[in-house]
């Protein structure tokens, strides 16, 4: 994926030079191994700060909807679907976006890489699908496909669905017999084990809200956890309150989540936040044949009514 960096920079330079956009939202190299940082470039002299690697796991649609004025934004497959969702939900105007589509072969799971090597990681290099990871005790070569983020393993929309220009050639989409084996595994548990699974999941949550804030879907001016008149959720570490935050947030994302994995990437405690939303994504597909963010003209199922909607809950 490194050939596209030059193309991204060239596109950005061109857009800024011509004044087509005021800002280009992309990624810049981080200050520590395997880190990248979202950046807004406003002058063509700075476009060389832009990069694109397998560690660009955050979703730039999160930033795009907060900008006023015309901007360009780098979008992987999942990011572009969130941009579509933003357009459908009136968070951003299509005319104000210049989408630089980047077909993606998957992002690296930093926790998986860290646990594969002994000692703290001090260096990380990418060469195609080969990753070279260094620490004070070892140097390791890893195949990227062995350490992909879980959402990338099950991704069926690696190519951007909406774009103004592509930074590299389209890639082959994965054909998966079952894109939801993780959901099946949880569904197979008996109710007590299932409940315990979710209790264990929220055990380490520190209510930092990194998951919510990294998620492009969470744009409410006042989140339900912050409401005070009346107050819906307690602010302490009471288990019920912690659970309520996660469960309710998942329901607010139902039918809208594109499984971009930004929530998992942002969480400092390593919680697999996607476990809350995956089942709802599966339900949306099974019940409504719906995948979020594929079509700029269609409204999500919880937002639209059709007489053909499954009604078996009405007894």
């Amino acid at each position: 994926m490194d050939t596209c960096i030059e193309k991204i920079r060239a596109i950005a330079r061109d857009l800024l030079e011509k004044g087509t956009v005021e800002k280009v939202l992309g990624f810049a190299d981080g200050t520590i191994p395997m880190a990248t940082s979202p950046i807004a470039i406003t002058s063509k002299e700075d476009v060389d700060k832009l990069t694109f690697t397998s560690t660009c796991g955050l979703n730039l649609a999160n930033y795009a909807s907060k900008e006023k004025g015309k901007i360009a934004v780098i979008a992987k497959g999942c990011d572009s679907r969130n941009l579509v969702t933003h357009i459908v939900e009136n968070q951003v105007q299509r005319d104000n976006l210049y989408i630089i589509g980047v077909p993606c072969t998957g992002m690296v799971d930093k926790v998986k890489v860290a646990s594969a090597i002994e000692g703290e990681i001090s260096g990380f290099e990418e060469d195609g699908d080969t990753l070279k990871v260094t620490s004070s005790l070892q140097t390791l070569t890893v195949d990227k496909n062995d350490v992909l983020k879980d959402n990338c393993r099950y991704c069926t929309h690696r190519n951007p669905v909406l774009y103004d220009e592509l930074a590299s050639d389209l890639v082959e989409e994965q054909e998966l017999d079952n894109p939801f084996p993780d959901v099946d595994a949880i569904e197979a548990l008996d109710p007590e084990a299932k409940w315990q699974h979710f209790q264990d999941l929220t055990q380490n949550c520190i209510r930092c809200y990194a998951c919510r804030n990294a998620c492009p879907l969470c744009y409410c001016p006042t989140c339900f956890v912050d409401e005070s008149g009346p107050q819906w959720v307690g602010k302490g570490q009471n288990k019920t309150d912690v659970d309520t935050f996660h469960f309710l947030r998942a329901f607010h994302c139902a039918g809208r989540c594109t499984d971009c994995g930004a929530c998992v990437e942002a969480c400092p405690m390593g919680i697999n936040v996607r476990d809350f939303t995956r089942k709802l994504n599966k339900d949306a597909l099974d019940m409504f044949g719906w995948e979020a963010g594929l079509d700029i003209t269609k409204r999500p199922p919880l937002d639209a009514y059709s007489p053909e909607d499954p009604n078996d809950f009405i007894k």
């Binding site: 950046i39 000692g119 380490n204 520190i206 209510r207 930092c208 809200y209 302490g236 942002a266 405690m269």
Partner: protein, 352 residues
């Protein structure tokens, strides 16, 4: 008191720790699938003395994320209804085993907030007085450790009652205070080592460890700048662009102590809680009228770095409010690096 050195054969370590449970509640590093945290040690759990670093700091030992501070009954038929009483907390002696020297220094910085000449926070201070800090020197500082440029270091003794050095098959313990002495006695660790030789050994380890630290933060020129010049500097928009205003940096930071006070009721029983809060939260400074002095993201990001690197420096003249543990750098979802921000602030010259 005279500095005492004790040698602890690692074969005797676990037994000694268990013996101390007769007197102390123990806290220490515990590994789980997500990494490492400083937690209360269960009856058969030993502190992990080989951990590289913990995601969260040790501040929760003195400053739990949710803490009951007052209780009362709202039932008007009960005597003393609506009259608040201090919540029951267990202040039996505690010991934190294996705390990093930078986390112990952080405790001293936090103490400046909770123990002032005008007010004493009884919850934090009572916990502090009940706690013995048994530190573990860091032989191999990790790539995020920049403690030496903040006034701390891998073998720094500030805030510790005992400093342990891992010497392969044994620990060398430097007993620094009478609290430390009491703890060592409760474990039955009593093999004294020659003070002079031991100090030499420690100094060698310290030098070796410090030479491994490559990360640094630049702060030498901060004191000479005015608050307003730094506050009005033009670089804050760029620095804050990527920030998502979560609370990660503030919650993992050992020197962040902002909190919220909330009442929670269960039927007629009312409890006043103290919960961690974060200046990053959009509603942190929102007035009841809706006016919010820090309603914009840039203002909040600027507040955090100004507080850590400038306001605290000016207010107490004890250096910056950062001990160089590097947790925020490691955990920030968007890789905002306090060292880079400090460098920018430190090097800023106002254009006239």
């Amino acid at each position: 008191m005279k500095m005492k050195f004790i040698t602890i054969d690692k074969k005797d370590w676990a037994k000694g720790i268990d013996k101390s449970r007769e007197t102390y509640q123990l806290f220490g590093p515990v590994k789980d699938e997500n990494g490492c945290r400083i937690d209360a040690l269960g009856a058969d759990v030993q502190p992990d003395m080989n951990y590289t670093d913990s995601v969260l700091s040790a501040k929760s030992v003195l400053f739990p994320q949710s803490e009951k501070i007052l209780t009362t009954s709202l039932d008007e038929s009960v005597e003393d209804h609506h009259i608040m009483k201090r919540a029951d907390t267990d202040y039996t002696p505690r010991a934190v085993i294996g705390i990093r020297p930078y986390d112990a220094k952080a405790v001293l910085l936090v103490k400046m907030n909770f123990d002032t000449k005008d007010y004493r926070d009884p919850y934090w201070c009572d916990a502090y007085e009940a706690t013995t800090f048994v530190g573990l020197g860091i032989n191999r500082p990790g790539p995020f450790d920049f403690s030496t440029s903040t006034g701390s270091g891998p073998f720094n003794e500030d805030g510790l009652d005992i400093l342990l050095a891992d010497m392969d098959d044994k620990f060398l313990a430097k007993v620094l205070t009478s609290k430390g002495e009491a703890f060592a006695a409760s474990c039955g660790f009593d093999v004294e080592a020659d003070a002079k030789e031991s100090q030499v050994l420690l100094d060698v380890l310290k030098k070796e460890a410090e030479s491994n630290i490559t990360a640094a933060v630049e702060t030498d020129k901060l004191a000479g700048k005015t608050i307003l010049d730094l506050h009005e500097a033009p670089f804050w928009d760029d620095i804050s662009f990527s920030c998502i205003n979560c609370g990660t940096c503030t919650y993992v930071c050992p020197t962040c102590w902002c909190f919220d006070i909330q009442d929670e009721n269960k039927q007629k029983a009312s409890t006043r809680f103290r919960n961690w809060d974060s200046c990053m939260a959009p509603l942190f400074t929102r007035h009841a009228t809706g006016h919010n002095p820090r309603g914009e993201k840039t203002q909040r990001v600027r507040q955090r770095f100004m507080h850590k690197l400038k306001y605290f420096l000016d207010k107490y003249e004890e250096g910056i409010m950062c001990v160089g543990c590097g947790r925020c750098v490691k955990s920030c979802p968007v890789n905002i690096d306090i060292r880079e921000v400090a460098k920018t602030m430190n090097g800023y010259e106002k254009q006239e």
